[in-house]
Point group: C2
Chain length 275, copies 2
């Protein structure tokens, strides 16, 4: 999928929502535990209830890996389900991978060949040769960690040399490795005030913004500081949507939560003159 | 396993070798492809042929994930096989994970609860709350990336503030998060000249050193600059050992390669007065 196609979908759905499928078997409604694959059963209902409001789904790999082979199986079924039932949806493997070149190539194979993800999140610490193998696939994306939403972001990401912070150096250096059709950045919603600084370096790139909702970030501040003339934002919400309810109507409640976010996004897109 | 137990094993086996199980289905002997689980069949023979010469095995997750559910299954079988047949072996999940706290906790569950790894490699970019969830398990280890063996290490790891490079800041900051019995660091063998600088910061911690062999690092230089009075080193070799042969005698050839490395390690341990 190209950035232009992403923007077309954003206009069509009046939304720039990404729903994080951080599906924790300890948190899903109890009645689903009687099904053969509770994690997939949960995801399927969430996806059916929210797909018209969302641009992207983002399964976080940790939640699937914690269940071993069964979890990996649920993940593959989830990706296939989205890909064939809702082919306009962008699917992100939130994996935060990154290793020496021949190993990163294996991860790329896992997410882009073996499964049909559109994008994978990658950690920048190991530099160019750990990131580039993910970029050899046509129409696939790297989403590189730049400024993360958690408290620990302050430990290393603000380190400064010659007035440039590490997250800025990561962005400035890596933007030469790909294009605005193959590279996005993770910028936490909890750091909205720094989005302006980041937009000075990469006015055109899409940003994946986690941290709205449970982590406390403000959607309005993110839009004010980070939106560009192709929207340029995918804002993720996980727990606030998928765990909105815990009874048999959990999917309807998830839809209601997604709809609230979509409405606010629609207003922000209108305010910016993009709808 | 404690650092003392690791050192006891090192003295007993006269070796500080870690064998990287980077098992690539495209590179294993062709005749194994007729078995029901070629990756496990390969690993099992490598392990049976080399376990008396090695302190640790280190499957790199990427190679297993690239095969999806089947690969994950081969990985679980490999870990169980080592754990129950050779219980004194230290098993490292080379996963380079790291995410916000509740997600890192899920990864920890995957590697320490669902599977019985002793240690997992973690990327430091997201800071303290992305690393600490891995440290809540008794007798389990975090092996944090500090200075990696690849070319891209130079992109960000040498960034300098007030005379301190990023990899040094990572070590200085993170050493307060755990103990010498719960925290090791990855330092590439290709950067042996910087091991001395690193030993000034952490004289006592174990280091996991990749990059000897195919990547060009020198074992002797690593020992000269990095060995301490508990050895303090686990030196990894992957391709140089596991792909030493490609016929029916591949395991015997792997053993020969491992034996060569072990002999050199024994000399280095003797030279240091540890045997």
């Amino acid at each position: 999928m190209t950035s232009k196609e992403l923007f077309e979908n954003i206009k069509k759905k009046k939304s720039f929502l990404c729903v994080g499928l951080d599906t924790d078997i300890a948190k899903i409604p109890r009645f689903l535990l009687d099904t053969t694959d509770p994690v997939f059963a949960f995801n399927k209902q969430i996806i059916d209830a929210t797909n018209d409001l969302t641009i992207a789904y983002k399964p976080n790999l940790a939640f699937y890996e914690s269940l071993g082979v069964n979890g990996w199986n649920s993940l593959e079924k989830t990706v296939n389900y989205i890909k064939y039932k809702y082919p306009d949806i962008f699917i992100i493997a939130d994996a935060k991978r990154g290793d020496i070149g021949n190993t990163s190539a294996m991860y790329a194979k896992a997410f882009f060949d073996h499964m049909e993800f559109d994008a994978v999140t990658v950690a920048p610490y190991m530099g160019e040769d750990s990131v580039k193998p993910f970029m050899t696939y046509v129409d696939k994306w790297v989403i590189l960690l730049a400024l993360t939403s958690n408290k620990g972001a302050a430990d290393f990401q603000y380190m400064t040399q010659d007035g440039e912070r590490l997250f800025e150096k990561v962005i400035k250096t890596s933007k030469e490795w790909g294009t605005t059709d193959s590279l996005m950045y993770v910028v936490g919603a909890t750091k909205a005030e720094m989005l302006g600084d980041i937009r000075k370096i990469i006015p055109e790139h899409f940003l994946l913004v986690p941290g709205v909702g449970a982590q406390g970030g403000s959607l309005r501040e993110v839009a004010e500081n980070g939106m560009n003339d192709q929207c340029g934002l995918l804002v993720n919400s996980s727990r606030g949507i998928i765990y909105a309810g815990d009874g048999e109507d959990f999917a309807a409640k998830a839809r209601n939560s997604a709809l609230e976010v979509q409405k606010e996004m629609e207003e922000l897109l209108v305010a910016r003159g993009l709808l």
